[in-house]
C-alpha cells in the first residue's frame, strides 16, 4: 500500500502526460497539415483545400480517415519486419521530448535536470527509422534517401548541439525550465544571435524540410526513403515529421525566444502557454514559408555548408561565450 501510495500519483501523472502528448502530436499534425497546405496554396496564388468544410477546414480529418482505410502495401522483396518497424520507430519516440518541454512554468510533464540531453538523444532515433525504412524497402531510391538522411542528420546534429551548448554555458543547466526562466530580462536571441541563426539552419536540416529535404527530394529520388510506403505507414512518417518540427521549434523557443515569457493575459493562469505556442507556431510558419520559397540545395553543398561554415562558426561562438562567461 505504501508503495502504491507513492507510485500512484506518478503513474497518474505519466498517463496524463501521455494523453496530453498524444493530443499535442495529433492536434499539431492536423493544424500543421492544414496550415501547410493552405499556406502553400496562398504562396502559390491558389486557395488550397476548399472543398471539405468551411475553407477545407476538415480536409485533414478526411485525409487521415482515407489513409487509415488504405491497404498497407509491402513490396514483395522488401524486408518485412524492418519495413513495418520503420514508421513506428519514426513516430513513437516523438512523445518523449514532449514530456520535458516547459509549455509554461506550470505546464510541464517532468522537469528533468538533463532535459536537453534527453531530447537530443531521443531525436536521433529518427535517423535510424529513416535508415531502416530506406533499407527495408529494397528500393534504390529509398536507399539513396536513407543514406542522404543519415549523413545529413549526423552532420547537422553537431552545429545544433554546439549552438545550444553556448546557452547551456551561460545558464549552467540542462533543465529546460531553468533555461527558459533565465531569459527574464533579455531573450538569448539578442545575446546569442549567431547561435540562433546556426540553430535555425540546423533545425531545418534536422527535420528534412526544404530547402534541405534531400532525403525525399522528389525530383531526384521520386520520394526518397518513403517511396514504397502507403496508407498508415506513410502517414506515421508524416506525423513524425510534424511532431519533430514542433519539438525543434519548441527547443528554439525555450533556448532563444524566452520560452513562455510574454505579457500575462488577464484572468488566465496559463497565459505563458499561449505565448509559448504562439512563438512555436511563428517558427513553424517560418519553416513552411522557406519550404515553399527556395529551391533545393545540392547534397555536397549542404554538407560543405555544415562542415565548413556552421561547425566552425558555432565553435567560435562557443569559445567567445566561454570567454565572456569566464570574464563576467
Amino acid at each position: 500500500m505504501e508503495i502504491l501510495n507513492s507510485i500512484l500519483p506518478e503513474l497518474i501523472r505519466i498517463v496524463i502526460c501521455a494523453v496530453c502528448g498524444a493530443v499535442i502530436v495529433f492536434g499539431n499534425a492536423l493544424v500543421m497539415g492544414y496550415a501547410e497546405r493552405k499556406l502553400a496554396g496562398h504562396f502559390m496564388l491558389r486557395p488550397g483545400p476548399m472543398e471539405v468544410g468551411f475553407h477545407g477546414i476538415i480536409q485533414l480529418v478526411v485525409d487521415g480517415l482515407k489513409l487509415m482505410g488504405k491497404q498497407l502495401v509491402v513490396p514483395a522483396k522488401a524486408d518485412k519486419p524492418l519495413f513495418m518497424l520503420a514508421p513506428i520507430l519514426a513516430f513513437a519516440p516523438v512523445f518523449i521530448p514532449l514530456l520535458v518541454i516547459p509549455f509554461s512554468d506550470k505546464l510541464q510533464g517532468f522537469d528533468l535536470d538533463v532535459g536537453l540531453l534527453l531530447i537530443l538523444a531521443v531525436a536521433s532515433i529518427n535517423v535510424l527509422a529513416i535508415l531502416i525504412g530506406g533499407w527495408g524497402s529494397n528500393n534504390k531510391y529509398s536507399l539513396f534517401g536513407a543514406f542522404r538522411s543519415v549523413a545529413q542528420n549526423v552532420a547537422y546534429e553537431i552545429p545544433m548541439l554546439i549552438s545550444l551548448l553556448a546557452i547551456v554555458f551561460m545558464t549552467n543547466t540542462f533543465s529546460l525550465r531553468e533555461i527558459a526562466a533565465a531569459q527574464s530580462p533579455v531573450w538569448f536571441v539578442i545575446l546569442q544571435p549567431l547561435a540562433f541563426l546556426i540553430y535555425i539552419v540546423a533545425m531545418v536540416a534536422e527535420t528534412n524540410r526544404a530547402p534541405f529535404d534531400l532525403p525525399e527530394a522528389e525530383s531526384e529520388l521520386t520520394a526518397g526513403f518513403h517511396t514504397e510506403y502507403s496508407g498508415m505507414s506513410f502517414s506515421l512518417f508524416v506525423l513524425g515529421e510534424y511532431a519533430n518540427m514542433f519539438i525543434v521549434c519548441s527547443i528554439a523557443t525555450v533556448f532563444f525566444l524566452g520560452g513562455d515569457s510574454g505579457i500575462p493575459l488577464p484572468y488566465f493562469e496559463y497565459s505563458g502557454a499561449i505565448w509559448f505556442l504562439a512563438k512555436v507556431y511563428a517558427l513553424m510558419f517560418f519553416l513552411v514559408w522557406i519550404r515553399w520559397t527556395y529551391p533545393r540545395t545540392r547534397f555536397d553543398q549542404l554538407m560543405n555548408f555544415c562542415w565548413k561554415y556552421l561547425i566552425p562558426f558555432s565553435l567560435v561562438n562557443l569559445l567567445i561565450t566561454v570567454v565572456m562567461v569566464k570574464l563576467i
Binding site: K140, Y141, F144, S219, P295
Partner: protein, 373 residues
C-alpha cells in the same frame, strides 16, 4: 540493354533506372544511370516508349493532311511545328501566303514560344525543388492559352496554319488581349528575377553545371538556347530568315559560359525578345486576305527534295521532304531539336552528381514526344 551484366562487370557500381516514370524525366524517357556513390559515371538514355511513327504516317496520306500530326510531335511548340510544315509545302509548291497571314503566324508562333518557355521555367524550377514558381508561370501561361484558344480553337495541339495562310483571322479581341498580356508579362519579369533568378541556392545549383562548348554543340548538333548559351548567336530566325522575321527588330540573347545557368538566362531573356516581336507585329499588322487565293484541293508536289528549317523553342526544327510528284510525300524526315540535344547528355553528364544530372537534363528542356516522333 542488360542491366545485370552492367552490374556484374563493375560490381562496385550500381545501375539506377531513372524513368520511364520519374518526376524529372518529363515524359516517358528512361535513363540508365551507372552510379558510383552519388556520381553518375555513365548515362544511357533509352528511347522509344512513345513512338507514334509520324514519318511512316506521312508517307500514307496527302501532304496537306499531315498538318495535325506536326502538332503532336512537340505539344509545347505546336504552332511553330505547323509553321515549319506549312512553309515546307509552300516552298515546294510555290504558293505564297499573304502578308497578313505571315504576320499572324509570327504573332501566334511567338506567343507559343513564350508559352513553351514559361512551362519550361516552372517545370525546371520544380526539378530543382522550388515548388512555387511553377504556379506563377502557369498563371501567366494560362493567359496565352486563353488568347490562342479564342483564335485557333484548341489549347495545346494546335492545327491553325494551312498551306497558303491561316485558317481564321484574328480579331480586335485577340489584339487587345495580346497587348494586355504583353504588359502583364513585362510587369511580372521583375518578380521572377527577384524570386528566382537571383537566388543564391539556384545560382549554386546551376553555375558551372553541364558545360557545353560550341565544338561539342557542332559535333552533336545541339541547337537552340543551349547553343546560344555557349556564345554562338545562332537562331534560325536570323541565320536563315523565314516568314516576315527580317522585318522585326529583336536581339538574340547569348551567354558565354555554356552551363545550365547560361541556357537558363538565355531562355528567360528570349521571352522578352518574343514580346518585342509580337508588339512590333501587332503595330504593323497589315490588312488583307489570310489565305492565298489559289490553293488546289489536291496539292501536287513537284518531284525533288525540299527542306524547311525554323526555330522551335528548343532549337532548330527541320522538315526534309522527298517528293515524287504526287500529293503524298515519298519520304518526310523531321529533325527535332530535342533528339540531338538529348544525345549530348551521355557526354555532358558523365561523372556528375545525381542532382546535377537532374538539373542538366532539365536545362535541355526535353519534350519527349518530339524525340519519339
Amino acid at each position: 540493354m542488360n542491366v545485370d551484366v552492367l552490374e556484374d562487370e563493375r560490381h562496385h557500381r550500381f545501375v539506377l533506372n531513372m524513368g520511364p516514370q520519374h518526376p524529372s524525366t518529363h515524359g516517358v524517357l528512361r535513363v540508365l544511370l551507372e552510379l558510383e556513390g552519388e556520381y553518375a559515371m555513365s548515362l544511357q538514355p533509352v528511347l522509344g516508349y512513345g513512338h507514334r511513327c509520324h514519318e511512316k504516317i506521312a508517307e500514307y496520306k496527302p501532304a496537306k493532311s499531315f498538318m495535325p500530326n506536326t502538332a503532336r510531335m512537340d505539344y509545347l511548340g505546336a504552332l511553330i511545328y505547323n509553321h515549319g510544315y506549312a512553309q515546307l509545302l509552300e516552298k515546294a509548291t510555290g504558293i505564297e501566303a499573304p502578308q497578313r497571314a505571315e504576320y499572324i503566324r509570327v504573332i501566334t508562333s511567338e506567343l507559343n514560344r513564350i508559352q513553351s518557355h514559361l512551362l519550361w521555367y516552372g517545370a525546371y524550377l520544380l526539378d530543382l525543388g522550388a515548388f512555387t514558381p511553377i504556379m506563377y508561370s502557369f498563371d501567366d501561361r494560362e493567359h496565352i492559352l486563353d488568347i490562342l484558344e479564342d483564335v485557333t480553337g484548341s489549347r495545346l495541339t494546335y492545327c491553325y496554319y494551312r498551306v497558303g495562310g491561316v485558317c481564321r483571322d484574328i480579331d480586335d479581341k485577340f489584339i487587345a488581349g495580346t497587348r494586355q498580356f504583353i504588359d502583364r508579362l513585362r510587369s511580372r519579369f521583375p518578380m521572377y528575377e527577384d524570386l528566382v533568378n537571383g537566388n543564391v541556392i539556384l545560382q549554386n545549383r546551376l553555375n558551372g553545371i553541364g558545360d557545353l562548348t560550341p565544338q561539342t554543340c557542332a559535333r552533336y548538333g545541339v541547337t537552340g538556347p543551349l547553343l546560344r548559351g555557349t556564345g554562338v548567336a545562332y537562331d534560325m530566325r536570323r541565320a536563315e530568315p523565314y516568314s516576315v522575321y527580317p522585318e522585326f527588330d529583336f536581339e538574340i540573347p547569348t551567354e558565354t559560359k555554356g552551363d545550365c545557368m547560361a541556357s537558363f538566362l538565355v531562355r528567360f531573356r528570349e521571352m522578352e525578345q518574343s514580346l518585342r516581336i509580337i508588339e512590333q507585329a501587332l503595330d504593323r499588322l497589315p490588312e488583307g486576305p489570310i489565305m492565298a487565293a489559289k490553293v488546289p484541293k489536291k496539292l501536287k508536289i513537284p518531284a525533288g527534295d525540299y527542306n524547311s528549317s525554323v526555330e522551335a523553342p528548343r532549337g532548330e526544327l527541320s522538315y526534309y521532304l522527298v517528293a515524287d510528284g504526287s500529293d503524298t510525300p515519298y519520304r518526310l524526315k523531321v529533325r527535332t531539336p530535342s533528339y540531338s540535344n538529348l544525345s549530348v547528355v551521355s557526354e555532358q553528364c558523365a561523372g556528375m552528381l545525381l542532382s546535377d544530372v537532374v538539373s542538366a537534363m532539365g536545362s535541355l528542356d526535353l519534350v519527349i514526344p518530339e524525340i519519339d516522333r
